[in-house]
């Protein structure tokens, strides 16, 4: 077990790279505590899988360092690094039984057969694979295969961290919940550092204590699920986390607060510490917007209403910007004269896509 530190890490898949776009990872710095549960969240091609490969030792970074417990392991191979990885597509050795699969990493490292059998039995018990040990691994379904491939990491007593690369992609939806819960339990039981890469926010937010949102090879924000939801540090985080994402409405800072399209907002947002010249945007979650017929809020035109299982989503046109308002299932939506009201304490101001910290 180990603390993992990444220093000034950059990687490019090209032979010669100059521009920022040539890099899959751009000067990353991060620090993962021993025993933590972390998630890397981001769209396809954001560099999250590359980062995982660099940590597992399957890929040499172009520059920068990977430290395990302060020791530089950048140039060590995956075999020497004591990490385990669960891949997107379940990897099992199909000609072997489940037992042989689990014993494989131990026997490769020279453990005696008896000791390996004991350890395999222990881990199989925790993974609930005890009854399937004699079965051929090619006969397992996707969820069980992922458990076996995770088990090959867990049997090893020298493992520093277990890395997951979108492990639930090919697992049936009904099994996803079960497997995710199982992962959380195992994390608590084994106390291993676990890093989970995904583009699915539900998976990231339910699994991890700390979620890092990545885009274009950079980490935009690192925080608890609540922090990501309530105070997205970057416009992209606001849009990517939450379903539907945060609304962003162009605004200007007036004398007494905020103006949207020349209309002063009847809400109080304290003045900002930083003075900024660029255009600002007001960010607010659909959950913190309300519809009213009074003229108190801002006039908007109703476009469509979408019914979901728990909430009603109303899409409106607010002076040229499309916004979404989330309403309780039973709330009636008036036919005309819509006005949008803001929960001022939840409104955030962004400039140049970044959150402006208020002086409050």
């Amino acid at each position: 077990m180990a603390q993992i530190d990444i220093r000034q890490l950059s990687h490019t898949y090209q032979d010669e790279a100059y521009a920022g776009d040539d890099f899959a990872l751009r000067e990353l710095d991060l620090s993962w505590q021993d025993g933590g549960a972390y998630a890397l969240l981001g769209p396809s091609g954001c560099g999250k899988s590359t980062l995982l490969r660099v940590i597992s030792g399957l890929l040499r970074p172009t520059s920068g360092q990977v430290l395990f417990d302060g020791q530089d392991v950048t140039h060590r191979t995956a075999r020497e690094r004591h990490v385990a990885e669960v891949f997107q597509f379940p990897v099992v050795y199909e000609t072997m039984s489940v037992f042989d699969n689990l014993a494989f990493p131990l026997l490769n490292r020279g453990m005696s057969k008896a000791a390996a059998a004991e350890r395999v039995a222990e881990v199989a018990e925790l993974l609930d694979l005890g009854g399937a040990l004699r079965r051929k691994s090619s006969s397992l379904d996707a969820a069980a295969r992922q458990l076996v491939s995770l088990g090959r990491g867990l049997v090893r007593t020298d493992v520093n961290a277990i890395l997951f690369d979108e492990p639930l992609t090919v697992v049936d939806p009904q099994d996803k919940w079960i497997l995710r819960t199982r992962l959380k339990q195992l994390h608590r039981t084994f106390g291993l550092t676990m890093v989970y890469v995904t583009h699915d926010q539900t998976e990231a937010l339910t699994f991890a204590e700390t979620v890092m949102v990545m885009r274009d090879g950079r980490i935009l924000q690192s925080g608890t699920p609540a922090e990501l939801f309530n105070r997205p540090a970057h416009k992209f985080v606001g849009q990517f986390v939450g379903s539907p994402g945060m609304n962003f409405i162009p605004c200007e800072s007036g004398d007494d607060g905020i103006e949207i399209h020349g209309q002063a907002l009847p809400l109080h947002i304290p003045r900002h510490r930083e003075t900024h010249a660029g255009p600002c945007e007001l960010g607010i979650r659909p959950e913190h917007l309300h519809l009213s017929r009074s003229t108190e809020g801002l006039a908007a035109k109703l476009l469509t209403v979408e019914e979901t299982s728990r909430r009603k989503l109303a899409y409106l046109d607010l002076a040229g910007t499309s916004i979404c308002v989330s309403l309780p299932q039973d709330e009636e939506i008036p036919a005309d004269g819509h006005h949008v009201m803001f929960d001022s304490q939840h409104a955030l101001i962004y400039s140049d896509e970044r959150l402006l910290e208020s002086a409050r």
């Binding site: 075999r79 990897v91 494989f104 490769n108 490292r109 491939s149 990491g153």
Partner: protein, 298 residues
């Protein structure tokens, strides 16, 4: 169960083109062979019925047994050399870059040469007076002459077949190897697997299908080999390299024993068919067996 379905004969029209093609290029020619195999002629286009006499004669003929023995030995040697060699070459090939394409081209080259040209190439290559290989081998002090010595003739014919066809096995295996997802190799590396373990537990299981195909193709082809050894040795010295098809042609065209030749080709055909069927059934049976066990285990 089919009470609701009406019998519809239209489907036969869809099958008809295939039936016609197969009839004209396989079934009808085969039937003429069957026709010859049960008759005898004294020339003058007069035929009379002899029943299964020709088959009886072929199956009890020492000449046929000897040719079959040589054929089995040849095919066994070819398979034993070409399959592992092709696999080893495939494992050693680069996976990407210009080198990969260059090797592909080099490997494909022997496969593109017409068979009688392959025979001619080796016929000249092995000559002791002007052949590069033949002259060189003699120059280093080894007595080599494929036209005189049966062993040398065998070595030449086997070497020629290996040169000609190992590429096919290598290319098939190479394609099979490329289809293995990278994650398997990465997982094996993380699991600390040795090079041998990677081969044994990752590559070999995933090459099984490809190897079955390579085996079948090489079996059928080498069992029916004619052109190349005919050009190089003409079946000699003596009868040393007279394989089944060479013997068949000698019988049918050399001696004009049409009835016996027809019976022999049918026996020959059946041997190829039965071996392929047995092999294929055995390998696919094993698979269904594994799958059924898997389903039952759920």
């Amino acid at each position: 169960m089919n009470a609701g379905k009406r019998y519809n004969a239209k489907a036969w029209w869809l099958v008809l083109p295939v039936v016609l093609v197969v009839a004209f290029n396989a079934v009808i020619p085969l039937m003429t062979v069957v026709n010859y195999s049960v008759q005898d002629t004294f020339g003058n286009n007069q035929f009379f019925w002899v029943g299964l006499e020709w088959f009886d004669e072929v199956l009890h003929s020492e000449r046929f047994a000897a040719a079959l023995g040589r054929q089995v030995l040849f095919t066994t040697l070819v398979l034993v050399i070409e399959i592992p060699l092709g696999l080893i070459i495939a494992l050693g090939l680069p996976t990407r870059g210009w080198r990969a394409s260059a090797y592909m081209m080099l490997l494909a080259l022997p496969l593109l040469i017409p068979w009688n040209v392959v025979g001619t190439i080796w016929q000249i290559f092995g000559r002791i007076d002007i052949g590069l290989a033949g002259a060189l081998i003699n120059a280093v002090g080894i007595d080599y002459n494929y036209t005189q010595n049966p062993f040398d003739a065998w070595v030449t014919v086997i070497a020629m077949d290996v040169w000609h066809w190992t590429s096919l096995v290598a290319l098939l295996c190479y394609a099979g190897l490329r289809s293995i997802p990278n994650a398997y190799y990465q997982a094996a590396e993380i699991d600390g697997a040795s090079r041998w373990a990677v081969f044994r537990f990752v590559q070999l299981p995933r090459l099984r299908q490809v190897l079955v195909i390579a085996f079948l193709l090489r079996f059928m082809d080498s069992f029916m080999i004619y052109t190349e050894p005919f050009v190089v040795t003409g079946g000699g010295p003596g009868n040393a390299t007279t394989f089944l098809s060479i013997d068949l042609v000698k019988l049918a065209i050399g001696q004009f024993d049409l009835g016996q030749a027809a019976a022999m080709s049918l026996v020959y055909f059946l041997i190829v068919l039965v071996v392929c069927w047995l092999f294929y059934t055995a390998t696919s049976l094993r698979e269904t067996h594994v799958e059924t066990r898997a389903e039952g285990g759920r």
